[in-house]
Symmetry: C2
Subunit: 277 residues, 2 copies
């Protein structure tokens, strides 16, 4: 049985890209604030960037915003990515950015909603409730999760940077402890980490704590992080292990296709320089 | 302008109850696993327990489970509580148990979804992303949030019990730090805390850290926590400040109405004993 990360790795090879295109239909970016406009915005982004996208990441909030119609639109978006995968003969994972986290029986319902009803391939989860809130998501063959470790927002430090002493570890930040926990939990190659690029030293620490893990990395582009620094700090030895998640700098670009292509080309160039540096 | 907690406090007076009835339509509890059956299950629970309920707490997961139809059902459930409030002339708050947590612009979309589209009065939030993930929810007059502090599940300790040192505080668990943060953030009487009853010493610590806060308290009933111990550990001086959230021991009772009435009566009796103890 193939794992989520084996699918992802294949797709990264197929498109020579580590780019994850965020599908965040902000109401203010739409001609009208309707579920249909949100769907069309995403379908257009998918069509124009699909050749350069290792994955797509729709954000649940911008669909929930419209209630039932929004959930229909979200399903249409997932289905559109699957149709592109079939057309290209290359499985492009859909990562639902939902940051869920709840206790066991409730987590089971969220997992079913994500993987069965919506048909997403992976989902972002919040670690605050601990291991039993993650486990129900790990039972789906071929599916994956990305656990929030170090986020890219200004308030991330309120909890994530707190310094702990636990067992034989002294003075490590909470986010690094989460990375260690995830290393323990990831026995079936289906758990990655969300690590923002806005604080490169966090990428370095988390890469050290989880040498083989896949990172979903927001923060490049509108949030100001530098692509080259991020790749230098977080790439695995094999030149993989990072999905660079970009939303607004693609969706708000004058030429969406070119913005995605340039990001992909930049990644290839930086990796080549690193290989020969 | 009245605050969320002033509404809640009035309702607690009106029904002499600290009971929050959880609306968790587990698929396995329904005659058929459909959105309509989930809605009818909740409408029946509301009708039978409304006289004893200080608040209702639908869990988003068990509606998302059904996709768009589930969101329609959830809206019907919120509307039904509002109709009962109008009928009784007593505002019964609806707390959406969604445990959301995302960065600013996304949090804004979730807040709009919760308070505007659905019309809920409050929502549960996850603190892992820090203050800026909470703030967008605090801008709605009369609405409130409950931030996860110490949850009632077995894995809660994975992060929440970690002991750390920050500023002048040494060796306090993460959940207690969250309680201190929330004290700082709660400048408009609209932030409470989720504190499970399964570990009474946590209730004591959090009450000490946040003497005036409202707690949403799961864990009594199916999860095994004792009602009297919980009230003794967590009630404020004024005999309020706790909403005891009960789901399965009411919804799975042979006589739902009686189960809710007995819980309410038990609360009154325990409080009376405490007043004269």
């Amino acid at each position: 049985m193939e794992t989520f990360f084996s699918f992802l790795s294949k797709r990264v090879d197929d498109c020579s890209s580590l780019l994850c295109v965020g599908l965040d239909p902000h109401p203010s970016d739409l001609p009208t604030a309707t579920a249909e406009a949100a769907r069309d915005f995403c379908l257009n982004l998918i069509k124009r960037t699909v050749n350069y996208a290792a994955a797509f990441k729709p954000n649940a909030a911008f669909f929930e915003f419209y209630g039932p119609e929004g959930w229909k639109a979200l399903k249409d978006v997932v289905t559109a990515v699957q149709a592109e995968s079939d057309r290209l003969g290359s499985h492009i994972p859909v990562i639902l950015d939902a940051k869920r986290g709840d206790i066991a029986s409730t987590a089971e319902a969220y997992a079913s909603s994500t993987f069965m009803s919506l048909g997403a391939d992976a989902v972002t989860l919040n670690p605050y409730l601990g291991r039993d809130s993650i486990e129900p998501f790990l039972k789906y063959p071929g599916k994956g999760v990305f656990i929030l470790c170090k986020t890219s927002n200004p308030g991330a430090g309120d909890l994530q940077d707190l310094s702990f002493t636990t067992g034989d570890q002294h003075g490590i930040p909470l986010y690094e402890h989460v990375a260690h926990l995830v290393q323990e939990w990831n026995t079936a190659d289906n758990i990655g980490l969300v690590v923002g690029a806005t604080q490169p030293e966090a990428l370095v620490r988390v890469r050290k704590a989880a040498p083989d893990a896949w990172f979903l990395v927001p923060g490049v582009g509108a949030q100001g992080a530098d692509l080259e620094t991020a790749l230098q700090c977080g790439l695995r030895q094999d030149g993989k292990g990072m999905l660079i998640s970009v939303s607004r700098s693609i969706s708000r670009a004058e030429d969406v296709r070119r913005a995605a292509a340039e990001l992909r080309d930049d990644m290839v160039e930086i990796k080549n320089r690193m290989d020969h540096g």
